[in-house]
């Protein structure tokens, strides 16, 4: 009896230890730490610097057009005299907002769809054929449709991208769930009289969440890239709001005369996507059961 009470008292310590093992794995993975740290740094810079510095990225100034980088304008100015540094930061904020929104929306919907598609094979078959259909179209096509009905806005971009990325998340979650469905522990739960809710949300989820987080990270990076491409052809975030894609679009005729208009948003985009992918690769290692076992 004393044994039993001792264990009951140990309980909180124990749950902490359980989640700690994931945390320790994160701490011991350099690419997760560096990638995550840099990503946080980029996000904070894009949000805080323009706000704290009270920087203006919208007012045009014909007397300060196409100035090369200097102390006053560390990244120069663009063809209508706006400070490129400010617009790179504001563009980053827009890109990260799109990336995070798309990752959150397609992450949540894709997770639920994937889980139930695996649990109910007949519905799952239908859902997966719909996903195949959605994946056959490029995101830009959906963007044009949404712009037609809602107008050109960040919301249209996020919706269009989410539709394209839901099937990708759903696929990963479905296949991870199906692998788990074949494990005997699911049979044991059925045999104990468990319903589908407990089996899915209190058991299988624990084994699927790692693959899901990794996939969502890559969706985050991909969404930023595709948004840039959409903005570049004029179907993305509307002017005068800055985005890396539409800044690159603006710079295309000045690429030889004002290199800074191309290079800085381009480098910011490449760096951010690289950092997110590094973070995702790190997480993949952290969640790899073979490494943890």
């Amino acid at each position: 009896m004393t044994e039993a009470t001792a264990v009951t008292h140990n309980k909180p310590a124990k749950t902490r230890r359980g989640s700690n093992s994931w945390w320790n794995a994160v701490l011991s993975s350099p690419s997760t730490m560096i990638g995550g740290g840099l990503l946080l740094l980029i996000a904070l810079a894009c949000v805080l610097v323009p706000w704290l510095g009270n920087m203006d990225g919208y007012t045009t100034n014909t007397s300060a057009m196409l100035l090369s980088p200097s102390a006053g304008h560390p990244m120069g100015t663009d063809n209508v005299g706006r400070d490129t540094f400010t617009r790179v930061l504001l563009g980053g904020k827009a890109s990260l907002t799109v990336g995070i929104s798309v990752a959150a929306i397609s992450g949540v919907i894709g997770f639920v769809v994937g889980l139930y598609a695996a649990y109910y094979p007949k519905i799952g078959y239908l859902l997966m054929r719909i996903c195949d259909g959605l994946m056959a179209f490029p995101a830009i096509l959906f963007a044009i449709v949404f712009i037609g009905s809602f107008g050109q806005s960040t919301r249209s971009v996020v919706l269009a991208l989410s539709i394209v990325f839901v099937p990708m998340v759903a696929r990963v979650v479905r296949s991870a769930t199906m692998t788990n469905m074949n494990e005997n522990y699911v049979q044991v739960l059925v045999n104990l009289g468990s319903g589908s809710f407990r089996i899915l949300w209190k058991n299988i989820v624990l084994n699927v969440i790692g693959a899901w987080i990794v996939e969502v990270t890559f969706v985050f990076a991909d969404a930023i890239l595709v948004e840039a491409a959409m903005s570049f052809i004029g179907a993305g975030i509307p002017q005068p709001q800055a985005s890396w894609g539409n800044m690159l679009y603006d710079s295309r005729t000045y690429i030889y005369s004002a290199w800074w208009m191309t290079v800085f948003p381009g480098v910011a985009l490449a760096l951010t996507v690289f950092v997110i992918n590094m973070f995702g690769d790190g997480l993949r290692e952290v969640f790899d059961p073979k490494r943890r076992r």
Binding site: T8, N184, Y185, S194, L206, R293
Partner: protein, 276 residues
Amino acid sequence: MTNQENPILQVNSIYKDFISRGLTRKGASVFHALQNVSFELAGKQTYALVGESGSGKSTTGRIICALEKPTTGSIVFEGNNYTDYSPSLLRERIRGNIQMVFQDPFSALNPRKAVGNAIVEALEIQKIGDSRSDRLDMAVDMIERVGLSSKQIDRFPHQFSGGQLQRVNIARALVVRPKILILDESVSALDVSVQAQVLNLLQDLKEEFSLSYLFITHDLSVVRFIADRIGVLRKGELVEEGTVEQIFGNPRTDYTRNLLGSIPLPDPRRHQLMAA
């Protein structure tokens, strides 16, 4: 010794066909995993199902647990034929009364769940116990009954050996107080001293909880000490059936004699596994 008047479980001529689809329509083939298998498990008795690998032992266990439906035939628990029960009716009347300890102890536990939580979860599903600490106490008691330490309750499956996991699985199955426990090769992987310990435990628990066992094994040496009746499966058919005395004393088929011959003999000169 045998007690035929009140069978707790009746298996009535079950057939199980697995259809494997080939690439072409012609390639589809039917595999008869079980053919006309019938036996009865009397209350508080141990029925041993023996046979070579692939003879359909585990399939029989899964069908009795209603995890798979037989192609034809019926299964009756305490007078109720539950072969065609709906999932909710099964949950209400059958689940929890019949538990199975699976052959692969690792796959039968959620790799991301501490074993204590897995046992507590079994109690939650069966709505046994009033509070979490109440259930945890029961889990600790049962973990200690199967010879593990209460300190190990916080560990995850990969931190146990195969034999320890097998005992965790036995604990989880027993904690919900089933009436029938199906043990699929549960002691075969244990070394001899632990095997004896677990077999003794199973005998004690049988008395304590008035359990009936369906003991699935290929190892006849174990069966001799704990079974009341034996059924011999071969390629999905029950080729021989009877009391332990009948099967061991007077095996009627060569197949059974071969299985009996595979018992390692104490005579060092006849140490081979298969008698010639």
